[in-house]
C-alpha cells in the first residue's frame, strides 16, 4: 500500500534534482547565471551547517564562519603549500573542522542560549585573529594561487576553473548536503537533538545524555560548513581573513531564518532569495541592505515561522516531508 507514495516521492525528488541541475540553462546559461547559482549552492551548503545547530539544537552558533573558513584555509594550505589534490584538500578540510568543532564543542558544552552565542562568537574572533597574524595561515595577506579544482574518480577526471564548470560540483555538494541533513533528522542523533532542544527534562529521563548529543551534533554540523569552505576556496582561488567576516555570518543566519527553521529546503530558499536579489535585482549596496533589513523585520515580526509558513499548508508539509 505504501510502496506507491514512496516510489512517487523518490521519482519526484530525482526529477526535481535533475530540473535543478539544468536551472542555469533555463535562466539563460550565461556565466553570470552559473556563478550566481553556484554561489547559492555553496553558500546554502555553508548555511546548512548552522541550520542543524539552530533548528535541531535550538542554539545560535556564531562560530560557523570559523568552520567555513577552516575548510577553506585547510584546502588552500594543502593545495598551495603542499601541492596536494582536491580530494586530500577535502579530507583535510573535514578533519580540521572536526578538530575545531571538538575543541569548541567541549568548551561550549555547559553554556546555553546567550552564553553559547557569546562564546561561539568569541571563538570566531579568536580564529580570525590567529589567521590574520600567523604566517602559516598567510597572515593578513591570506593565501593566493589556489589552483583550479581537479577531481579524479577512477578513470574519470573533472576540472573546473570557470563558473559553468564549477556548477556541477557546487550542485553536487548541495545535493549531498541535503541528503546528509535529511538523514540526520531521521537518525537517532537527530531525534535525540530535537528532544534535548524541545524537552531537556524528558531527554534526561529517557537516558539521553544531553552534553554528548550536543557535542555529536556539533561534530556533524562543522564538516558541512567546512565542505562549503573547501569548494569556495577553489572557486575563488584566494582565501583571506574576510572569510570570518560578518558578511558570511549574516548570510548564514538570515538564510536559515528567512524561509523557516527545520525545513529541508529552508536554507536553500533563504540563500537563493538573498544572493539572487543581490545578483539579479540589486538596488545598490544601501538599497540591498534596506531590503534585507525590512524583510528580516517583517519575517521576524509578522511570520516568525518564516516565509514558507505563508504558503498553503500542503506545499509546506511537502517541504517538511522531503
Amino acid at each position: 500500500m505504501n510502496a506507491h507514495p514512496t516510489y512517487f516521492r523518490i521519482l519526484g525528488t530525482v526529477a526535481l534534482a535533475l530540473l535543478g541541475f539544468f536551472l542555469p540553462r533555463f535562466l539563460g546559461g550565461s556565466s553570470h547565471v552559473y556563478d550566481t547559482l553556484g554561489t547559492i549552492a555553496s553558500f546554502s551548503a555553508m548555511s546548512y551547517g548552522l541550520d542543524i545547530i539552530l533548528s535541531d539544537l535550538g542554539e545560535i552558533s556564531l562560530a560557523h564562519t570559523a568552520f567555513f573558513a577552516t575548510g577553506a584555509y585547510a584546502s588552500a594550505i594543502l593545495s598551495v603549500d603542499y601541492g596536494q589534490g582536491a580530494w586530500v584538500a577535502m579530507a583535510g578540510a573535514v578533519l580540521a573542522a572536526l578538530a575545531l568543532a571538538l575543541v569548541l564543542g567541549l568548551i561550549t558544552l555547559r553554556t546555553r542560549e546567550f552564553a553559547f552565542s557569546l562564546v561561539t562568537y568569541a571563538a570566531a574572533v579568536v580564529c580570525m585573529n590567529i589567521a590574520a597574524n600567523w604566517d602559516f595561515l598567510g597572515g593578513s595577506d591570506g593565501i593566493v594561487g589556489i589552483p583550479p579544482l581537479a577531481l579524479t574518480i577512477g578513470p574519470l577526471s573533472f576540472a573546473a576553473s570557470q563558473p559553468p564548470q564549477f556548477w556541477p560540483f557546487a550542485y553536487g555538494l548541495l545535493l549531498l548536503t541535503l541528503y546528509v541533513v535529511h538523514r540526520f533528522r531521521r537518525s537517532r542523533l537527530g531525534q535525540a537533538a530535537l528532544m534535548v532542544h524541545m524537552n531537556p527534562r524528558l531527554a534526561s529521563m529517557c537516558g539521553v545524555d544531553g552534553n554528548r548529543v550536543r557535542l555529536l551534533v556539533f561534530l556533524v554540523s562543522a564538516p558541512i560548513s567546512a565542505l562549503a569552505g573547501w569548494l569556495y576556496a577553489f572557486q575563488r582561488a584566494y582565501v583571506g581573513t574576510d572569510l570570518f567576516d560578518t558578511y558570511f555570518l549574516v548570510l548564514m543566519l538570515t538564510g536559515v531564518i528567512l524561509a523557516g527553521r527545520r525545513l529541508l529546503l529552508g536554507p536553500l530558499l533563504g540563500t537563493a532569495l538573498l544572493v539572487g536579489q543581490k545578483s539579479f535585482f540589486s538596488l545598490g549596496a544601501y538599497g540591498d541592505k534596506l531590503v534585507l533589513g525590512a524583510v528580516l523585520v517583517g519575517v521576524l515580526c509578522f511570520c516568525p515561522k518564516g516565509l514558507a509558513s505563508l504558503w498553503p499548508r500542503a506545499p509546506g508539509r511537502a517541504l517538511r516531508q522531503m
Binding site: 550565461s30 556565466s31 553570470h32 547565471v33 556563478d35 550566481t36 554561489t39 590574520a132 597574524n133 597572515g139 593578513s140 595577506d141 591570506g142 593566493v144 594561487g145 589556489i146 583550479p148 576553473s161 570557470q162 563558473p163 575563488r236 582561488a237 584566494y238 583571506g240 581573513t241 574576510d242 567576516d245 558578511y247 558570511f248 543581490k278 545578483s279 545598490g284 549596496a285 544601501y286
Partner: protein, 379 residues
C-alpha cells in the same frame, strides 16, 4: 601650407572619427570600486575620474575606432562581493577591468579575472602579493608599491632624527601590515637606531581610536606613524582624536593615505601632519603637463572638482590601457599586458610613465605637510 579644400577635408575627417567611433560597437570597460561604506565617497570620485577619461578618449575617436562604455560596480569593500562583481563583468564581456581600493578585495578578484582571460589593472590597492601572485601573471598596478613608499618614509625619518621612539598605528590587513613591515625593513637597511615603543593594530572600519590615542600618549614617542587607508571615516576620525588628545609627537601618515577629502573631513585636526604622495595637480611636473591639464579641465567641466591622486590613478589606468591597445592594435589580454609590463607609456596624465617587468608603475614622490587645512608640498 594647406589649401582651403585640404583644410575642409581635414576638419570633416577629424569630426568623422568620433562619429564613426560612436557608431561602432562599444568596447566594454569594467570598473570595480567601493561605492558605499567607508570608502564609498573616494570610490565614487575614482569612478567620476575614469568617466572623465573615457569622455576624453571617446571625443578623440575612441579605442581602435570604437567608443568606450563604462560598466561600474560596487565591491562594498567586501572580497566576496568583489568576486561576484568580477564574475558579472567577465560574463558581460568586458575587455578590461580597472579595480582595487582594498587589497583583500583585489587579491580575491585577481584570479577570477585571470581565469576568465580578462585583463585586470589594479588602480590603487597596495599589498605586495598583488604583483607577486601566480594567480595573475599579467598583473599591472599604477599606485606606488609599499616597498617604494617605505623607502620614502624611512628617508624622511633619517633626515629628521637619527634615533628615537616610534609608535605604529597600523591597519591590520594585507595593506597595513605590508606597509609597516616595509618601513621597518627600510629603517634597518638605513642603519637607523629607532626603538618601536608600540605597535597598535586596528581593523579597517575602526573609527574610535580613543584607546589607541591614550596608549600613544603614555608611550611618549618621538614620532607616530599612522597606516590607515580608510580615508572616508577612519583616518579623519583618528586625526581628530589625535589632535584632541594633544599627544604632541609629529604624526607621519604613510604615503598616499592623505587625500584632500581627508583634510576636508578632519578639518584643523589635519594641520601639522606629514606625508608623501605621487600626484599634486597644481605642482610641477603635473601643472605644465598638457594631458593632466586636459584631464583637470574635463573633471571641472563634468564634476566641478579638482582631481586628487586616486582620481588621477583611476583615469591614468584607463589612459594607459587605451594607449597600449592602440599600440598593439588588439584587445587581447596578453598582447595588451605585454605592451605595458616592462615598457614606457608616453603622454599620460602622470607624464611618460615606465612600468617594471612585474607590472609596477614607477613614481616620483614629494613630501608634504598640512598647513591651514591645505597641502603644502615640500620638495
Amino acid at each position: 601650407m594647406f589649401t582651403r579644400r585640404q583644410l575642409m577635408a581635414g576638419v570633416a575627417l577629424s569630426a568623422a572619427v568620433p562619429m564613426r567611433a560612436r557608431a561602432a560597437a562599444p568596447i566594454k570597460v569594467g570598473l570595480i570600486v567601493p561605492l558605499s561604506g567607508g570608502a564609498g565617497r573616494q570610490g565614487q570620485d575614482v569612478a567620476n575620474a575614469v568617466q572623465s577619461m573615457a569622455t576624453l578618449i571617446n571625443d578623440a575617436g575612441g579605442v581602435l575606432g570604437r567608443p568606450l562604455e563604462l560598466l561600474v560596480r560596487d565591491d562594498e569593500s567586501t572580497p566576496a562581493i568583489g568576486v561576484a562583481k568580477a564574475n558579472e563583468l567577465a560574463s558581460a564581456g568586458v575587455a578590461v577591468v580597472l579595480e582595487g581600493w582594498n587589497s583583500p578585495v583585489t587579491l580575491a578578484m585577481q584570479p577570477i579575472l585571470a581565469r576568465a582571460d580578462v585583463l585586470d589593472i589594479t588602480m590603487i590597492s597596495k599589498a605586495d602579493p598583488i604583483l607577486a601572485s601566480a594567480a595573475n601573471p599579467l598583473a599591472i598596478r599604477l599606485n606606488s608599491a609599499n616597498a617604494e613608499d617605505a623607502t620614502v618614509i624611512a628617508s624622511y625619518l633619517k633626515s629628521r632624527m637619527a634615533s628615537g621612539r616610534l609608535v605604529f598605528v597600523t591597519e591590520n590587513d594585507a595593506y597595513g601590515n605590508g606597509a609597516q613591515h616595509g618601513i621597518e625593513e627600510e629603517i634597518k637597511r638605513a642603519g637607523l637606531s629607532y626603538d618601536i615603543a608600540k605597535t597598535l593594530k586596528f581593523p579597517f572600519p575602526q573609527t574610535d581610536f580613543r584607546v589607541e590615542v591614550t596608549t600613544i600618549h603614555d608611550a611618549k614617542p618621538d614620532a607616530v606613524i599612522a597606516i590607515d587607508a580608510n580615508e572616508g571615516a577612519g583616518l579623519p576620525a583618528f586625526l581628530q582624536q589625535y589632535a584632541q588628545a594633544k599627544v604632541g609627537a609629529p604624526l607621519i601618515c604613510t604615503v598616499g593615505t592623505v587625500s584632500p577629502s581627508v583634510i576636508e573631513t578632519a578639518g584643523a585636526a589635519a594641520n601639522g601632519l606629514i606625508s608623501a604622495d605621487i600626484y599634486f595637480p597644481a605642482a610641477e611636473p603635473f601643472a605644465s603637463n598638457s594631458e593632466n591639464k586636459r584631464f583637470i579641465a574635463e573633471m571641472q567641466k563634468q564634476f566641478k572638482t579638482t582631481p586628487d591622486k586616486y582620481m588621477a590613478l583611476g583615469a591614468a589606468s584607463l589612459e594607459v590601457w587605451a594607449k597600449a591597445v592602440a599600440k598593439v592594435g588588439s584587445l587581447d589580454r596578453k598582447a595588451v599586458a605585454g605592451a605595458i609590463r616592462g615598457h614606457e607609456i608616453p603622454g599620460t596624465i602622470f607624464g611618460d610613465v615606465r612600468f617594471s617587468a612585474n607590472g609596477q608603475m614607477a613614481h616620483h614622490y614629494a613630501i608634504f605637510t598640512v598647513q591651514d587645512e591645505k597641502i603644502v608640498v615640500q620638495n
